[in-house]
Chain length 447, copies 2
């Protein structure tokens, strides 16, 4: 993309309403614009990151064998009455009356609707196990929306639902989601720690939240320092294997890690003093096993192998997609702006032309742009007629992990400069080697 | 995907509520399920096609230089008061009151919000031209929703908005959209004819609808038979060139083609009798130029090159994404089911194992599956322990354009059968040549 043809409305001033760094930078980098309280438009740069995150989730869900679908945002109140949640949900549910005076709502989550779909079609244990998921807009009418996309009213969420014949199978689905989420967050450059949690209005006993450590987190967290050494990494895993998924769960949840909601001083006391850590954390996902809570209430049964009718065991599993942008920025920024992890960066690198209009510099930039694009990479070329300082400030603010700087002086020596946004380190390279370096970083050339 | 692990709830019976063929087949093929009147869940097969269509639109919008973003579904009534449309829109607008008693609405279209975004950031003619678009869920509270996704209440729509300094530039944006839409529909296997239309509540004089000819279309259409010979095809076009885009518009709109809304008997009389055609058509998109209607009302101005403030010229451009699934099926089916065009098919081909459990047949299917997958193709392998007849009926119903049939008898002769869903013609080929044939059809091997 050429910046002269893009829509990147960066702001010099920090909007007064933004209290935390991710909100400030998302506004300043032209990623979002508030439309109403707690409701945002996703400007092009923000939308690109949202799509990248969405795609990673789709890929990782497919890897785990989960099936994508999509449910509507507006649902009938009647379904929610079957589970008893229509009355229980309170004022956070956005309730709507349509032109025929039917009671509707904007879905905050979808256990009822997915259970209705399940019971309409699935009659036999032979069709299990089954995990369906969607990535869809949700609404919670927060009384005081704040912190930008971190606690908005309209938000983008991945919500998945497993249906299993037995508790054991459903717990495997739970474990499988935990494994899948660890992979998913790591691909986004995040360390998200599973912590034992409260189930809240979803219900059930087994539940873990995934928390990203950040000073601005809404939760106080208590954890054993050993936990931050754990990496899921590149390990191959058979998502059908109960043992393999269970082993990952054990590895990642056997050390103490809880939020203030579930913190237990007696257990905490057993953690060696030198490994005790307290910090703040941002919740970016949660998994639940809640057994037959919804299948009992809504009559979602299947025939088992002996011909008897049994309620299915279920769980639900969520990732806060729009909120993740905020969490990633909270975890990865400096005082100049955002620092995107390579996995989610809106553009793979920036190209800064120090002397727009100089034939040689223009030609070198065009050539870099063409070479990178031909490799399937997406550079953002700042081709505006602006001072170098302004161009650098914009690149630093929007946080592309790599920048190629092109100027007449370097070109005289046959080089351009490749700079890491994270370390600030620069390297002078001939243009073709600069392209090769970027290509290797993104894995589009062999290592 | 292996069918045994997929969620494809095909129905044997035709649901009574479905009056048109696309609605019937979408329900029977397990693509959608009604959640409330005019509101559908997109089951996995339907969601896959929806995503394919969405991706084609994103690719073609990018090719035309348009910038993707996303606006929220819930918007404030205040903005809509600025344009005067809050009161004008009538009961089709889903009006909502939030917990703080603020008047909100579920957006049926987004001229107001995009104009607000524009006026907040863009101050100079130097930032023009600019075209922003989104693909997002919309809601129109139809009094009598019907025909499945063709006239639903919650629907998925691409809506784009151009901002230009002059009427001439805005008309170029209009023409550019027309060109881009022709390409877009053709990639989906559709012939969509631009017809002069009424502007309705959007406003403006210049507007064309794109209609797909189909018996069940809601509009009566009158056209010159020469128009159906026109193909956009593979032609290269410079979307920045006013002349090139204008030439395409002239070519595709110079012959008579109108709906009953704009039909003009006097002009119609000039069409040679033998070329006159009347038919029915499904509207799948519409483009508008409406000048300064919203920029005047909402104060969206820029500084021109002489320092004066001028209102921007705008247009808006929509594609009915969810409705397109219905339109494609109306245009492409037979009495056994859907016939997907290759561009939008949910899976590239089916693999039918005639004798599940037979070692050789199973191994041959697995090998085909692996080879196709390695090429980046997505086959649907019917690995269920079902009769051949049932497997064929399912494949015909869900409409994958190609089927590979594998059975012990063929394998004895070293062949499998490749069948075209459209023609019903079969060809016996060694497995590796079957893979090659499918790969060539989808352009993943050189021709």
């Amino acid at each position: 993309m050429r910046l002269s043809r893009y829509f990147l409305p960066v702001l010099k001033e920090t909007p007064a309403e933004a209290q935390i760094v991710s909100h400030r930078y998302m506004l300043r980098a032209g990623m979002i614009k508030q439309a109403s309280a707690g409701i945002y438009s996703w400007l092009p740069l923000g939308f690109k990151v949202l799509r990248k995150i969405e795609n990673i989730i789709h890929e990782e869900q497919a890897r785990a064998g989960h099936i994508a679908m999509q449910m509507p945002t507006i649902q009938s109140a009647d379904l929610w009455r079957e589970s008893g949640r229509y009355d229980a949900y309170g004022e956070e549910m956005l309730r709507i009356t349509d032109r025929h005076d039917r009671e509707m709502l904007f879905t905050p989550t979808a256990e009822e609707l997915i259970t209705d779909i399940f019971r309409s079609y699935v009659k036999s244990y032979k069709d299990l196990p089954l995990t369906l998921y969607q990535i869809q807009w949700k609404f919670r009418d927060e009384i005081r929306p704040r912190f930008g996309v971190m606690r908005g009213r309209e938000f983008y969420m991945k919500d998945g639902y497993n249906f299993d014949l037995t508790k054991e199978d459903a717990l495997h689905a739970y474990n499988r989601h935990l494994v899948s989420y660890l992979r998913t967050y790591e691909r986004m450059g995040l360390q998200a720690i599973p912590m034992r949690a409260d189930s809240g209005p979803i219900g059930g006993d087994n539940t873990h939240e995934f928390l990203v450590l950040a000073e601005t987190g809404e939760s106080e967290v208590f954890y054993d320092a050993q936990i931050t050494d754990l990496k899921f990494g590149d390990r191959e895993i058979d998502f059908d294997s109960h043992e393999q998924c269970r082993a990952v769960l054990d590895e990642f949840t056997s050390r103490y890690a809880r939020t203030d909601e579930t913190h237990d001083e007696a257990v905490w006391a057993e953690v060696p003093e030198e490994r005790k850590r307290t910090a703040r954390g941002i919740e970016v996902g949660q998994i639940f096993y809640f057994g037959t809570k919804y299948s009992d209430a809504m009559g979602a049964t299947v025939q088992d192998s002996e011909g008897g009718k049994v309620p299915v065991h279920m769980g639900s599993h969520g990732i806060g997609v729009s909120r993740l942008l905020g969490a990633i920025i909270e975890a990865s920024h400096d005082d100049k702006g955002i620092i995107w992890p390579e996995g989610v960066t809106p553009f793979h690198c920036g190209i800064v032309n120090l002397k727009q209009g100089d034939d040689e510099a223009d030609a070198a930039c065009e050539s870099l742009y063409a070479s990178l694009t031909a490799l399937g990479l997406e550079p953002l070329y700042d081709d505006r007629n602006e001072r170098a300082g302004g161009k650098f400030a914009t690149m630093d603010l929007i946080g592309l992990p790599w920048r190629i700087t092109v100027g007449p002086r370097g070109l005289k020596n046959g080089v351009v400069e490749v700079t890491s946004r994270r370390t600030g380190e620069s390297e002078e390279l001939p243009p073709e080697q600069a392209v090769e370096k970027i290509a290797r970083i993104y894995g589009v050339l062999g290592a």
